[in-house]
Symmetry: C2
C-alpha cells in the first residue's frame, strides 16, 4: 500500500486519484477550487482545498514521506513550475508532472521533475499508430528497434501456418503468445495454425512487424 498526492483535479489528475484509490493506495488530493474537492472528498483518503504551489502548505503536509506526488495542474504553468520546485526542495522522491507543451517540458526538466507526461501528445501518437496499423490492437516500445505488439488475425490469414506466414512475408518477427477466446494456447506444442480473431503477441523491429501485415 503506497501513499500518493495529486495536485490538480482536471480529468487527468482526477483519473489518477481515483484509479490509485481503486488500487488500494492512500491518496491525498489538493485543488484550489472547492467544488472539485467536494466532488471527490468521499472517494479518496484526504481532500483539501489549497494552493498546491504554496511552499508552506506543501511543507506542512509532509509530502516527502509520499511515494510520489503528481502535479496535474493544466493552464497555470507558473503554479506547476513552482510546485515542482518546492516539492524537489522538500526532498519528495518522485515528482511526476503534466506538461502543457514543449516549453513547459523543458522548464520542468531544468527543475528536476522525475517524470513528465503529455497526455494529449502521447495519446495522439498512440492513436496515429493504431490508425496507421489497423490490425494492431496494442503495442509498447521495448527500446531501440524492438516493439511488442498485439495483432488480431484477419480473415485473409485464417488457416495459414505461422511458419508459412513468416516465410511468405519474409519476416523474422517472433511469435510470443497466442490468445484464442479466453485461453492462452501453447503455440509451440505443435505448428500453430492461425485462426481468425486469434490475438497474437509478437516481438520485432518496426519493419519485421510491418512485413507481417503485407498482403500475401
Amino acid at each position: 500500500k503506497k501513499q500518493f498526492a495529486i495536485i490538480g483535479l482536471g480529468y487527468f489528475g482526477q483519473t489518477i486519484a481515483l484509479e490509485l484509490t481503486r488500487l488500494e493506495n492512500d491518496v491525498l488530493v489538493i485543488d484550489v477550487q472547492e467544488k472539485f474537492i467536494n466532488n471527490i472528498a468521499d472517494q479518496v483518503t484526504h481532500a483539501i482545498v489549497a494552493d498546491g504551489s504554496d511552499e508552506r502548505i506543501l511543507r506542512e503536509l509532509n509530502l516527502q514521506q509520499y511515494d510520489a506526488v503528481v502535479i496535474a495542474i493544466g493552464e497555470n504553468i507558473e503554479a506547476s513550475l513552482l510546485s515542482t520546485m518546492h516539492l524537489k526542495a522538500l526532498g519528495v522522491k518522485e515528482v511526476w508532472v503534466k506538461a502543457l507543451n514543449n516549453q513547459h517540458h523543458k522548464l520542468l526538466v531544468k527543475l528536476g521533475a522525475t517524470r513528465i507526461i503529455h497526455p494529449e501528445h502521447e495519446m495522439g501518437q498512440r492513436t496515429a499508430q493504431l490508425l496507421n496499423y489497423p490490425m494492431v490492437n496494442n503495442y509498447f516500445n521495448l527500446g531501440p528497434n524492438h516493439f511488442v505488439i498485439e495483432m488480431l488475425v484477419q480473415e485473409e490469414h485464417d488457416g495459414i501456418l505461422m511458419s508459412e506466414l513468416l516465410q511468405q512475408t519474409q519476416s523474422s518477427a517472433k511469435l510470443l503468445a497466442v490468445k484464442r477466446g479466453e485461453a492462452i494456447i501453447d503455440h509451440m506444442l505443435q505448428p500453430y495454425r492461425l485462426q481468425q480473431r486469434d490475438q497474437l503477441v509478437l516481438l520485432g523491429s518496426l519493419s519485421e512487424l510491418r512485413q507481417l501485415s503485407l498482403p500475401l
Copy 2:
C-alpha cells in the same frame, strides 16, 4: 499509404496529423482558426480553414473516400456531435472522436462513432498503473485476465534463476522474452538467470504478475 482527415488542431489532433504524415500517409487537416492552419500547412498534404461541422463542406471534400476521419475538437461538444453525425451519414468508414467527458461519450455512441478516445482519462489510468507498479515500464491488456507487461529486473532479483523466482513467489506468470542491452536473449536455450536492468516481457493475470513483484 492511406488517407486521413483530422478535424481540430489542439495538441491531440495536431499530434495525430503530424505522426500520420511522418508514417507517410496523406493527411488533410481542418480547423476554424486560421493561425493553426497556417502553422501546419507546409507539414501536411492539405490544410483548410473551415467549420468541420458544416455538412456541405464535409460532402464537398469527399471524405467517404478516406480511410478514417478523426474529430479532435475539444470544448465545442455540439460541433463534435454534428461532425460525427454528418460523417456517418456520408458513409465515412471510420469516424474516431475525442470525447470530453462521459456524457459526450454516451452521445457519441448513439451517433455511431467508430472509436471514442479520452486522452486525459486513458493517460491518467496508465499513469496510475505505472505509479502503482513502479517496476512495470509498459503494459497492455489482452482482454479479460491477461496482461502483457514489461518489467525491469531490480537489484534484489539480480542473479536469481527465473524458475526460482516463479517458485518462490508462487507465480504462474509466463516469461515471453528478455531484452538485455540492445539484444533479445534466448531465455529458453538454458535456464535464464536474471540480471539487473534486463527487460522482461511477461504474460499473466494481474494477480500472477503482482506475485512476481512481492519481496522474496
